[in-house]
Amino acid sequence: MTVLLEGIAVWKTYGNDDVLKGVDLKVHQGECLVVIGPSGSGKSTLLKCLNLLEPISSGSIRFEGEEIAHLRRGEAAAVRRRIGMVFQNFELFQHLSAEDNIALAPIHVQKEQPAPARQLARDLLRKVHLPDKAEMFPDELSGGQQQRVAIARALAMQPALMLYDEPTSALDPETVGEVLDVMQELADDGMTSIVVTHEMSFAQRAADRVIFLDGGKIAHSGSTEEFFSGDVPERVARFLGRIRA
C-alpha cells in the first residue's frame, strides 16, 4: 500500500505552549485512521497542521510523496484543494444555499462553469442523502444535514484525503448516525480519511487503525482489532472506559 500522507516528528508550539511534541503518523491510500484522545491533547491542531491551516514549528509532512510543510502561500492553497476538511461547527457559508456552498470552490478555484458545478453539487447532495435540500440555506437545515452538506462541499474538490475534526460533537444525538453513515460509506468506497472523534462505535466499524493522542504525543497506536480487544495500556483503557460510560 502506498503512503498518502506522512507526518514525521511534527512539532507545534503556540507561544510557550508545546501542543504537538513530535508526532509521527502515516496514512495509506484507502485507509481510515481514527484519532482519539482527551480534550487538549492536540487532535484538532494535528489536523490543522496536516492540511497546512497552521504552520508547524518543526518536523516534516509528506503528501503524495512530496514535502509540503514549508510551502509558500499559493502552493499551500493548492495542496489544501487536494485535502478536504470537515469542521465540528460545519462552517457552511451562511449566505449561500446548500448547492451554492458546494459549487463555490469548483467555480471560483477550479474555474468550472456554473452549470456543471451545480450539477456536481446536486450529485454530491444525492451522495450524502440530501437530494431535496439544494435550495435550502444553512439556517434552514438541521445540524446533521448541515454537516452532510459540509462533507459534500469538501468532496466537490475531489480530494485525495478527507480530514474530519470531531464532525459529530456539535450534533444532537439523533442526527449523529446519519453523518457517521455517510462517512462510513465514503470510507467503504475507498476514500482515505483521518477522523478525530469520540464515537467509538464508528471507530470500531470504519477504522483500519486507531491512534491515541495524549499531551501532544502519540501514546498508543494500533489496528482497530487490537484497540478494542482490551489489550491496550492502562491509560488508554481508562480513557476508553470513560468515554463509553
Binding site: N51, L53, R73, G74, A77, A78, V79, R80, R81, I83, G84, M85, F87, N89, E91, L92, F93, Q94, H95, L104, A105, H108, V109, M136, F137, D139, E140, A150, R153, A154, M157
Partner: protein
C-alpha cells in the same frame, strides 16, 4: 403681512426652484454616500492586509477625517485647493469633502461588518483551497454587506441632512434656496417649512426603501420578515446627526 400664508407655502412647495434644490440635495448625498461606501469597502479590506505601511496610511486617513469637523473639510476643499491650482466647481468640492468624510465612517462600518463574519468561515474557505482575495470576495464581503445594510441606511439618512452644510460654499441645495428665497421677502416660516417638508419626504422614502431591502435580504434566506415596516420606522432607526 400675515404670520403664515398657506398659499405662499404651497407656491414654494411646487416651485421649480425648490424641486431643483431638492434634487441637488439628493444628488450630492447619493454621490457622497457612494464615494464613501467605495472608500470604506476598499479601506476596510485594506486593513486586513499584513502590510504595516498600508494599515498605517489608512489609520492616518481615519484619524484626520474623523478628528476634524466636516464643515472645516468642506471649506478647506473649497478655499484651499484653488491655492494649489485645483479649481473645482462648488458641487464637486462638496462631493469630495463629504465623500472623503463619509469614507472614514464607512471604513469603520465595513470593518465591523467584516469582523462580524466569524473566523470559522475563513478557515473553512481556506481549507477548500481559496486564496485570501477569493475568501474576501466570495465568503466574507457578501456576508458583511448584509450586516452593514442598517448602519448604511442610517448614514444615508444622516448624509441627506448633513448635505445642508454645503450651502456655505454656495451649492444651490435646499437650505440655501430656502434662505435666499426668504431673504427677498422675509417669509422664513414658509420657505424653511418647505425645506423641512422636502427633507422629511426624502428621509421617509429612504426609510421605506431600506425596509424593503432588509426584507428582500431576509426573504432570500427563506425567512419571513420578523418586523413590520412600522416597527422599523421606530425612533431607534431614525438615524443620527453628527
Amino acid at each position: 403681512m400675515s404670520i403664515f400664508s398657506p398659499h405662499v407655502m404651497l407656491g414654494y412647495l411646487l416651485s421649480f426652484g425648490f424641486l431643483h434644490a431638492a434634487l441637488m440635495t439628493v444628488w450630492i448625498s447619493l454621490a457622497s454616500l457612494f464615494a464613501g461606501m467605495l472608500i470604506g469597502l476598499l479601506l476596510a479590506a485594506g486593513q486586513e492586509v499584513p502590510s504595516r505601511i498600508i494599515r498605517g496610511a489608512i489609520m492616518g486617513y481615519l484619524w484626520l477625517f474623523r478628528g476634524t469637523p466636516v464643515l472645516l473639510q468642506l471649506v478647506f476643499a473649497f478655499n484651499v485647493l484653488p491655492v494649489f491650482g485645483i479649481v473645482l466647481p462648488a458641487y464637486a468640492c462638496a462631493v469630495l469633502a463629504l465623500g472623503l468624510n463619509e469614507g472614514a465612517y464607512m471604513t469603520e462600518i465595513m470593518r465591523s461588518g467584516i469582523r462580524a463574519v466569524g473566523p470559522g468561515q475563513r478557515l473553512a474557505a481556506r481549507a477548500l483551497g481559496l486564496e485570501d482575495r477569493q475568501i474576501m470576495l466570495w465568503v466574507v464581503l457578501p456576508q458583511a454587506l448584509r450586516i452593514v445594510i442598517p448602519p448604511i441606511g442610517n448614514q444615508f439618512n444622516g448624509m441627506l441632512k448633513l448635505s445642508a452644510l454645503v450651502s456655505v460654499i454656495g451649492v444651490q441645495e435646499l437650505l440655501l434656496t430656502a434662505d435666499q428665497t426668504a431673504s427677498m421677502n422675509f417669509r422664513y416660516l414658509e420657505t424653511l417649512t418647505v425645506a423641512g417638508i422636502y427633507y422629511l419626504a426624502m428621509t421617509t422614502i429612504l426609510m421605506v426603501i431600506q425596509v424593503f431591502i432588509e426584507r428582500a435580504c431576509q426573504r432570500r434566506r427563506g425567512r419571513m420578515p420578523t418586523a413590520s415596516p412600522f416597527k422599523l420606522l421606530s425612533p431607534a432607526n431614525l438615524g443620527t446627526v453628527r
